[in-house]
Amino acid sequence: MKNAVRIGILYSTTGPYGGMGRDGRDGAELAIEQVRATHANAIEPVFIDPHADIAAYLEGARSMLRDHGCRHIIGTITSLARKEVIPLVEKHDGLLWYMCPYEGFEANDNVIYTGGCPNQHLLPLFDYLIPRFGRRPYLVGANYVWGWEMNRLARELIEDAGGEVLGERYLPLEETAVERIVLDIEQRRPSFILNNLVGPSSYAFLAAIRALGARDPAFRPENCPVVSCDLQECEIPDIGPGVATGQLCAAAYFDTVATPENTAFKAHVSSRFGPGRRVSSIFASAYASVKLCAEAIIAAGTDDPTAVSRFLSAAPLPTVLGPILISPDTRHAALPFHLGRINDSGGFDIIASQPAIAADPYLTGRRMRLPPQLRIVS
């Protein structure tokens, strides 16, 4: 390769999920700096910030693919943005690297999925929760496809378990008026609460549940936890110190994962972004995705998506998320499952883990699923 290969980095650093976007962008940037340092500027980033505007995502992706000659785009946080960008990526025969947990039911040849689908987060989460807290949850969610589909699956899991969903409510992305929902929860007294709200509405909800728990111990996290599959370390300061302590979250990575690779990785993050910076799963996945992308391009000697994909499916590659192998069929990464409990210092204590789970985006194996084999670590 004579010229540097351009890689598009498409994240919104402002708007309702700006915190996640900043983590994605920073993770990608750190990986690019490292690759450029060791491989003589083999890759060159093209950063575009759509500021949570869907039309700007399309414009940005088009500009990357057509004007900048990118064949790889790392980015998008929401499913809405991903679905908008995919047709363009297909048209230009590029590859979109999507690295957020999402609701599944997708397997596109022009996408690499490194963030996890429900059999990698929601299903093992419910396997943990139902025997410990009961099967009468309350479901809340952001009023778009993530919230709708996650809650629909949750309802099926609960019905399969012979339980009952006590309520299901939705809020628009930036809505913070959660009082009526919390009042309803107080009256219905669920076993646990599945929180698929995003950004400020999620933070307002967690604060209101904290206040409810202070009045009524039945709603403290040890009795009725608020659980989610997408809460990030970078959001905990926005929720407020101590507000979400004790609540649970499923993820493929937490800042607190105790591996030598993660210790080394966090040292790099600290020296680049300052010692206080906590790493979220989005930061780590974006970092791992750029590293994998660059490694594959360098090894294949081309940024051709077919050659890159073949390399990613040939053998597991070491990453900060553990060894990653991309399934040639589903295009998804097999990912570990960790269950984290928010602690007072703004991080997650890992309370249960499962080794890498192969992605099953269409849940073909749900009816023949093996009993869970969770390793309880605390």
């Binding site: 995919i86 297909e90 629909r152 699956l153 099926e156 269409y362 849940l363 073909t364 194996g365 009816r367």
Partner: protein, 193 residues
């Protein structure tokens, strides 16, 4: 809310000449959990799969072993053409969903779900229609049984009808069936009141 359709273990037959579309389609169907067979010859009526995906661009009469719009399994058309004749052919076969060619993998699962839903709905409508037709056909029996009750029990028509209906409700049988039993002598004439 409808349950997530699960196609795990289903048998799909793709009636299409093998090409890049069938390759992509096969890959996606397997991913969704189906067993896939690709052929370009008429389907064997004695060994039907669970779902059929047919090339509506090249499809010919007799490729599918049924006639009319009553397909015995969910049917999906693979269609590149916009020619009205080809669309009409697909509809005549009983297609419930269309996947446009060149095939986008994201079109496959929605088409399966749609075709399955349409197939179930059509089947339910046909079953209901058969049931209602049967009842309409047997309506003269009800009338004859009412006439018999009027004659024997010396009651008016309204009361005779009530007697017959109560008798059917007690036995948990359709009125037509009770009427036929009474007229055939298999059932004693119900008591008045």
């Amino acid at each position: 809310m409808r349950e997530t359709p699960n196609f795990t273990g289903w048998r799909a037959t793709i009636l299409h000449r093998e090409d890049s579309n069938t390759e992509r389609l096969t890959r996606q169907l397997k991913l969704i959990g189906l067993h896939v067979n690709v052929q370009w010859e008429p389907l064997d009526a004695s060994d039907l799969p669970d779902i059929v995906l047919v090339d509506a661009d090249q499809g010919f009469d007799g490729l599918l072993p049924w006639s009319g719009e009553h397909a015995p399994c969910p049917l999906v058309a693979l269609l590149g053409s916009e020619a009205p004749g080809r669309i009409a052919w697909a509809m005549e076969q009983g297609v419930g969903a269309i996947i446009a060619k060149p095939l986008a993998s994201s079109a496959v699962y929605p088409a399966l779900v749609m075709a399955l839903g349409i197939h179930k709905e059509r089947k339910a409508v046909i079953d209901k229609m058969n049931h209602l037709e049967e009842r309409v056909r047997l309506r003269p029996l009800v009338h004859a049984a009412v006439e018999r009750i009027i004659a024997v029990r010396k009651v008016d028509e309204e009361l005779a009808y009530t007697i017959l209906r109560n008798c059917a409700m007690q036995r948990r049988m359709p009125m037509e069936q009770v009427a036929a039993s009474i007229l055939g002598g298999a059932e004693p004439l119900p008591e008045a009141g």
